[in-house]
Symmetry: D2
């Protein structure tokens, strides 16, 4: 119970360090007889690696997904699905000089305090590379949701202070930032170029939308749908805030504004973000997460070593300018896993 | 596994409906030999019931706490602690007219869809009264934390658009809104009076602070400290957003601003809000939650009945204008429960 | 997570000490819309208290069951069902003299070592009275199973060395020992009288039978149906062994004897006891448990006090001669809870 | 939650099919800074493969263990330990003819009913080969226990009706059957030869002994130490009965015989098998399991196919005559995992 599992019925366990032999995930509780190929998972994995785009990490993460169990003749069997990704093309040498230094904004200090030992290479278990297991499991969760016509997608709402002013879903797949506003996407590109010159990094906001979720998912009192979604999203390393529907805007709303009236055709607006009393209400589920800037900046920073003496470090190599857009499929994956879990939980009581 | 339990080692299970016989909580996993009296719990319960204050519900919730098990000669024994609060002074008659109507902003619709049946009296299980079990369990969690000198407190940061401009901790206990800014508290009082006249309600923001938390609490990857805190807080009915440290502000920060430099004396600022890589870093833990306006407004509202035909309802009785400040001890309770749980989890690995 | 909860989807949490205020159980995950009255539960509770029968404890356990939540207008609502039984008619004075003495065969020593404190009155949490929560939850589990026509019953196979030589189900309810062999029941009665004179107690074997269980229940690998049944039954204080189907007899069987051949009508015999590969196969589930003699004997016994100095004790009061037959409804309850849980788990994958 | 995980704090998840790509286990919750090499695990794995011994399966299970994560510079890091064993040297062709036939005594029928699909090759997930993950995890659990000087060993008490009449621990490692009675071992060998000629198989009894377990492990009420041990052992495919201490013998004992008197030096005998009230009492823990004969016999058997029509099958290939002695390290592994888990659970409350 070291905290590396997630979910109740659709339950995933991830493992692996950034520069270890491999990373992987075991999914226990996936229903049987679902079509599943390595290609289904690979496709999601590619979205995590936006390729030649600007500002992204040049490390060639081949991330060739391999299914080791739980699938027979192209279908899930109900037994645990084990997925592995080998760590190829890894060079840990650059990390030698920070072996005994705590990088600001990273988990180096807290891991050392907690465990008395840490694999410093590439950030070890605390690396963003940990999310490959989430994305692989999320791809399978999406297959489960597909059977019920539930669809999840996410996009960049804000990056480095540039905010999408309109939401054109068609646009999302067309620009590098997966931003639903073409003009904003261009401004984001400019912003990234500026920040890169400074050796700095930027944060932003990702919005996640769930279409076609039936009403009834979510368990009161503690396993409210938004509570499990909040946990799943907040467990992503770079996320510092989560909100549902009107979110923090509710602080300035009146009850008469915030309540969504019900008409014969259903809810007449959606400030609840698709969840009432912890249970999905049939409307789109709307979530937003705040993504912090990547802590690995090229500028010189003050910090201390294991011996607490002050040092100045300058992180080398080429790092991403923002966790966005690579974090987008990770957000989708966590939402998919939570929904698949609650979909199965709800099936118990429906039959 | 209907979602009414929370925690891994310090695990609570709550039960009870607003107008049923009683409500209660069972705490399993509380260490033995901790001094515990009903008075310790009653004190927290009183804070949930701010008395004659303006804008608050006049229902006399005596909420007399009774410990039924797990305590012997004033000390915990390590066996489950069962706490009960009887529902006295309950009149369900006013609820008869909404028995087959879905109140906007309430869980009436989603409970009916999920379970095919619901106890409509006083909102049943979905009532804010459900939180008494949380507050009782939180009082015990605070006793566990006290042993390590960990202290939690929360206050109103914003209400109905009025925001505290300064943080004077001395002021918190002095005004009704538990707001750390005296001038803001006065403005909040004025705001509440205005809204009351309109028959409307308002939302706000609560900030929670944890002092004295040692570094090392929190489990990667999924049970990150902020992930469990987010789940615990988001599981409170009125909460629509949760953030840690700089929170949504990170979206507009540079990495060079957001990273907290480390010096020989520790972290030199605290934008991380006391948690790095999912593990407490020894600084104050800082959280904020967005609280939506109470959905029970006195104004007439459009909605539908069980048969989907449109009706107009006007909710009677006197209801709170805001879940704030009564939600404050509930927020503290959830944070206390999460921290007590992670404190115990960390003890496993320390010895 | 002090070990007071059981089950995955149909999950129960029991609490309470023998001489505390009350005992109870919370059931979370019971499906909604099941008819449930206090009488349904009371009936099972009465079976735990065989009344004026010989050899049984004379303490008047009124055990009046009260449902506090989760039921509305006679039907379950899907929210947690809380059940309470008050401890009336309790006199703890006789226990004063063993306050600092470890009774042989009891949990006094181990509780003291584990917790550093214990409620010695009536055995505290380790009392057989703890099982009232199991029986109450079991009554509800039986209601869940009834919907699928699954029926559980148990009987005395052996007592004090007297073994039932024939199995006449009609006979079970007719004799005090719930033994399916009339002649054996008479011999058991004689045996009990002899042992009573000696101030001693006796053990025995209970057999549990499940009729009408559909194939498919049970989860490989660790949550095999017989594994969860073994845990449930072995968690009853007096049980020291559990076996399924041919049980320990398999040690002396050949594979050609032990395998159950399959014909067009199904299995042609049932040495597997209804479970193959951890999954029910549609045949009767057959289980047996070994029940140790009640440790509270009237004879003088050697032991030590908290200070480790030797003392001689003679336990006073009138105690049962055997946990049989009162343990029978407890065994049924644990089997019912395990099956209800696995029935719900299987529903996830069926729909 | 498909039942492929086990344990609360020391939690393992196994995966893999007999003829799939690989099998493995993920251990989450292992404390950090424990020395761990692949050799530590390989050694236990070899014991599962008694080599050229008579009556054992000739398939060359190389079972080369590979650690993929959670270990850095020879020490555990507190992050999940992932272990893989590739399935080499696999020929699934012989299984083609039973693809749509249910072998008696195997899980073929129940898997098909439960999942609607099954990997028939080598028994798929229901193969005894599944236990490699248990043995690997058990090797790590033993390292955890070693730190507290807790030692587990198991031996053959009975095989094919031949029972060890004396217990000479020195003898265990000296004979193929790991029987503590040299004469019995010789008789067992003879028995195996006889049975082999008949194309049949035999069952037996394994006894497991835990030395050095401190008092205090085990959680009342449901997670009693013997309850978790019973679940762990009963989850091994071939096990049909589990008992602790005097076990089924208690049925014929008097209370005055069964109670273990306490003296100044501790318990004066050990019929309780080291566990009182669900908590270890400091004496040796003594467990016994009944092992059924291997269901794959060479004799012709009657059964049915997927279409329910009767067929006669004769299983080919050379199979083991008994799961004993190969099951011995598996039993030890399960006991080690349960104890490591409860050792960690108890640490929570000790500090």
């Amino acid at each position: 119970m070291g905290g590396n599992s997630f979910g109740t019925l659709f339950r995933i366990t991830t493992w692996g360090e950034s520069h270890g032999e491999a990373l992987g995930v075991v999914i226990d509780g996936c229903p049987s007889q679902i079509d599943l190929s390595e290609e289904d998972i690979q496709r999601e994995m590619e979205r995590r690696r936006p390729g030649q785009g600007m500002g992204t990490s040049p490390r060639k993460e081949r991330d060739r997904v391999k299914i080791l169990s739980g699938v027979f003749e192209g279908k899930t069997t109900g037994t645990p699905i084990s997925i592995i990704l080998w760590n190829e093309d890894v060079n840990s040498t650059p990390y030698n000089e920070i072996k005994e230094i705590y990088r600001p904004g990273h988990a180096d200090f807290t891991y050392q305090v907690k465990y008395g030992i840490r694999d410093h290479r590439g950030g070890g278990r605390a690396s963003a590379r940990e999310t490959v297991g989430r994305v692989a499991a999320g791809a399978i969760a999406k297959k489960v949701l597909e059977q019920e016509k539930i669809k999840i997608f996410a996009y960049t709402l804000e990056l480095g202070g540039v905010r999408a002013e309109k939401i054109d879903y068609e646009e999302i797949e067309k620009n590098f930032f997966q931003c639903p506003d073409r003009d904003a996407a261009i401004a984001m590109e400019k912003k990234v170029e500026e920040v890169k010159v400074e050796g700095d990094t930027i944060g932003g906001i990702v919005e996640i939308l769930v279409r076609g979720c039936p009403p009834g998912l979510g368990e009161p009192v503690f396993d409210k749908l938004e509570a499990d979604l909040a946990k799943g999203l907040m467990s992503i390393g770079a996320v510092r805030g989560v909100e549902v529907g009107a979110g923090f805007r509710v602080a300035q709303m009146f009850g008469s504004q915030c309540n969504d009236p019900l008409g014969p055709e259903g809810f007449e607006k959606n400030d609840a973000g698709g969840i009432l009393g912890g249970i999905s209400n049939g409307m789109d589920i709307v979530l937003r997460v705040a993504v912090k800037p990547i802590p690995s900046i090229l500028q010189e920073q003050r910090t201390v070593g294991h011996n607490r003496s002050p040092v100045s470090i300058q992180i080398k190599g080429r790092h991403d300018i923002s966790a966005i857009p690579r974090i987008i499929p990770v957000c989708e994956a966590m939402v998919a896993i939570v929904l698949a879990d609650h979909l199965l939980r709800q099936k118990v009581y429906e039959s």
